[in-house]
Amino acid sequence: MFSIIYYIREFLRPQWITTFFTAKTAPLVTPPYFRDFPELTDKECTHCLACMMICPAPDAITVVKREEIWRPEITKGHCIRCGLCIEACPEDVLTSGRILAYKKEEELTLKGTFHIEIDQSKCMGCGNCTVACPVNREIDPSLRSSGTSSSGEVIMRVDTGQNKVLHEEKCTGCKTCEESCSNQAIRVARVVEALQGVEE
């Protein structure tokens, strides 16, 4: 009996009633350190394309020239807000959340190379990829349509009926070769190294 009276008294307290009817959780705010879609700083983009090469999401970032100035553009709905382009850009053109701050603090740089793999059981030595490769064509303009070349400086060439990789380190990762292969025998993989501290 006493407890019922106690409860009624407790719930009739004006303060209890006002908190009961006006209670709200904190408003919906985004903290400043949230890693949102990358935004442009006022630094100048040098069109090195490091940001496009590191981006894991298809079609998320493109570097385009508008009014005579190169600028990266992020496509919402494609970008996964991973922040890798911010870390990869050598000029600090992009920013988001705290990334630029810790990039500076840890002296972080990302170094990317490309690894070319040719599945010899699928490759029929047609040389399509070798001819399509823009780097190859620049090194040896007289590259034959069969993919053979007299130059030893090309990325890859067809030799005794098989396509062989000679200079993987020259690859720029454009993946033109993958698209030109009808057997999906050639694969280009990006190998990224994160370095901390100043390079010697």
């Binding site: 209670a23 919906l28 985004t30 298809p58 709905g77 807000r81």
Partner: protein, 151 residues
């Protein structure tokens, strides 16, 4: 506007029933939707209630890049929802296929090819605050004066 309609508007803006469907996502966005239910965000203070039953829903949240199994299932599910209704795409997947949209994969984005989508929330995954504020700003616009504009 009739009195009944204004009454309906008032009730509808404070009572939004939600169902969600995963048409092939990695679960990241589903976990963010789940986070909206937590005391930290507390969606019931806005009158949002998760039924997960299309027959009772007003808002359908869609996550995922649309895998082939959903080809014959999403449209019937959408038809089961009574009018007025609205579908919201959560995350990159229903918009673009996100990181899964590559050659030789089976996903078939965007989901707007299959059912009408009223709003898209980009992000992988979007923040719970982005999901809640989208629903709160969208639902009253869609549901306002529904009976009068229908005619």
């Amino acid at each position: 506007m009739s009195l009944l309609q204004s009454l309906k508007n008032a009730v509808r803006s404070r009572s939004i029933h939600v169902a969600y469907v995963n048409v092939g996502s990695c679960n990241g966005c589903d976990i963010e939707i789940l986070a909206c239910l937590s005391p930290r965000y507390d969606i019931e203070q806005y009158g949002i209630y998760v039924h997960n039953n299309p027959r009772e829903a007003d808002v359908l949240l869609i996550t995922g890049a649309f895998s082939p199994q959903w080809e014959d299932k999403l449209k019937p599910l959408w038809d089961k929802i009574p009018h007025p209704k609205v579908a919201v795409a959560i995350g990159n997947c229903p918009i673009s296929g996100c990181v899964f949209n590559r050659p030789e994969t089976l996903v078939d984005p965007p989901v707007s090819k299959h059912i009408p989508i009223a709003a898209e929330i980009p992000g992988c995954p979007p923040r719970p605050t982005e999901i809640i504020s989208t629903i709160l700003s969208l639902a009253p616009i869609i549901f306002k004066d529904y009976e009068e504009t229908k005619k």
